[in-house]
Symmetry: C2
Subunit: 267 residues, 2 copies
């Protein structure tokens, strides 16, 4: 599995129809689950090293249609980390206070400090997705946001934050199955939201909006990956592998013992 | 294992010397680890139910001497939960802004909303522990805080938050070993803090301060438990069991399907 096969190459113009939602890169489920356990152990160590090293942070952005698995990634990948080193933010419909500020205000407050892993369940990209499709601001306002987002993410990168963005790519049929499950399973009733049906009816408009976000905002330093997400186990495997590569690339190091502590014996 | 054996009975006057730090309630390690895995699965389900139900929250307070395992509990117990449903706050030396407010101001901001699990790594109790031992405020100020803390925790309970407090009880010898490990293992150097030695030298004063906090602030609704913590696996087992009992006692229920969603088929 070559993770760069799933990268939106900066400057390219991808069409989501060209990316399979049920790709598994030839993996079998049982073998993938075993490999995932190994990756989880690696991620746990790398995250402790990130924390100890303290020079860098990691920001992971999760986006995708309803039911695409943003919560599942938190349950099955993010929980490999020590929870003390992770800060998850779910961006909901903006509050009145958030709406009284620019769209990046609430985002900036949630950026992880160096040493930490930040997970965004939805993000600044909602402001060029739902906001665009539902006409919540004029086009000249949301059009300008792609550039603002790139500038903002560049500023984060300049300050030691590695930014990696995952679009969880599911098929329209898979979403149908997953929404129906919420109606049929009493332990899933609470996840069902009637508004999700209105969003589903605008699948094509959302797809077009996602394509623009992926194409305009996949940069060398803050790239987008398109994650085939019909198979949950492959989604988790691929994301774990990418995160391992990103953390490994930082060449993290265990800090030395403080000079004044050398040679001390505890009494 | 009866969890009430580890409870500080409200109104009692315990002495920490009467509580073993290496107690294992007759458990063997291998059997305990297998049981812990089962408990972790139970906790995962219960936490999802807490979130879905939405009527209650859970606040877990971790206190103990340096190296007693507050971080270890986060790594090995708290990570059983979906990280999206958990909010961990580590209270450090107060900032100048925090010091310009009353001692409960920063605590209140970190209280979990209903549906969530909040974990406090250190807490409001630092204001009757380090503050008392190091004489950071006059005695008449910290003396009043026991009552203020009980009132505050009562207010949380009134609002649907279950409060449970764990004192991680290690021996002086065990702390010596664990501090020495930080000096001897290059992957632990970063955890070593010279200031911990000054705190260690005041072991008896801290023990007395802890005893007062445990005796004055173990209430029926916000009880303290004394967790034998020399054996990490027993610490994790006992805490997991207590958390399971606390969550089970809430009689949580999966919410019904919204009326307007009954009978819908996804197209």
């Amino acid at each position: 599995m070559k993770t760069e096969d799933y990268l939106v190459v900066p400057g390219s113009a991808i069409s989501l129809a060209d990316f399979k939602t049920d790709d598994t890169a030839g993996h079998k489920k049982s073998e993938a689950l075993a490999r995932l356990e190994e990756l989880r152990a690696d991620l746990n160590t790398l995250q402790q090293l990130l924390y100890a090293d303290g020079r860098y942070g990691l920001l992971v952005i999760l986006q995708g249609m309803d039911t695409s698995g943003k919560d599942g990634v938190c349950r099955h990948v993010v929980n490999a980390f020590n929870p003390q080193g992770v800060q998850i933010t779910s961006f909901k419909v903006p509050t009145s206070e958030e709406l009284a500020h620019d769209f990046l205000w609430r985002i900036h407050k949630a950026i992880p400090r160096r040493g930490m892993v930040g997970i965004f369940n939805r993000s600044q990209y909602e402001d060029v997705l739902v906001v665009r499709v539902e006409n919540l601001v004029p086009e000249k306002v949301w059009r300008k946001r792609y550039g603002l987002i790139n500038d903002f993410e560049g500023c984060l990168c300049d300050n030691g934050i590695t930014v990696v963005k995952f679009f969880l790519h599911i098929s329209n049929d898979e979403q149908k199955t997953r929404l129906q499950d919420r109606l049929d399973d009493p332990t899933e009733y609470w996840k069902f939201n009637l508004a999700d049906l209105k969003t589903r009816a605008k699948w094509d408009a959302y797809t077009a909006a996602y394509e623009d976000a992926l194409n305009k905002c996949s940069t060398k330093r803050a790239p987008w990956y398109i994650i085939p997400a019909d198979k949950k186990w492959f989604r988790d495997l691929l994301i774990s592998q990418i995160l391992k590569e990103k953390l490994t690339a930082l060449n993290l190091e265990w800090p030395p013992l403080a000079e004044e502590a050398v040679g001390i014996t505890i009494e």
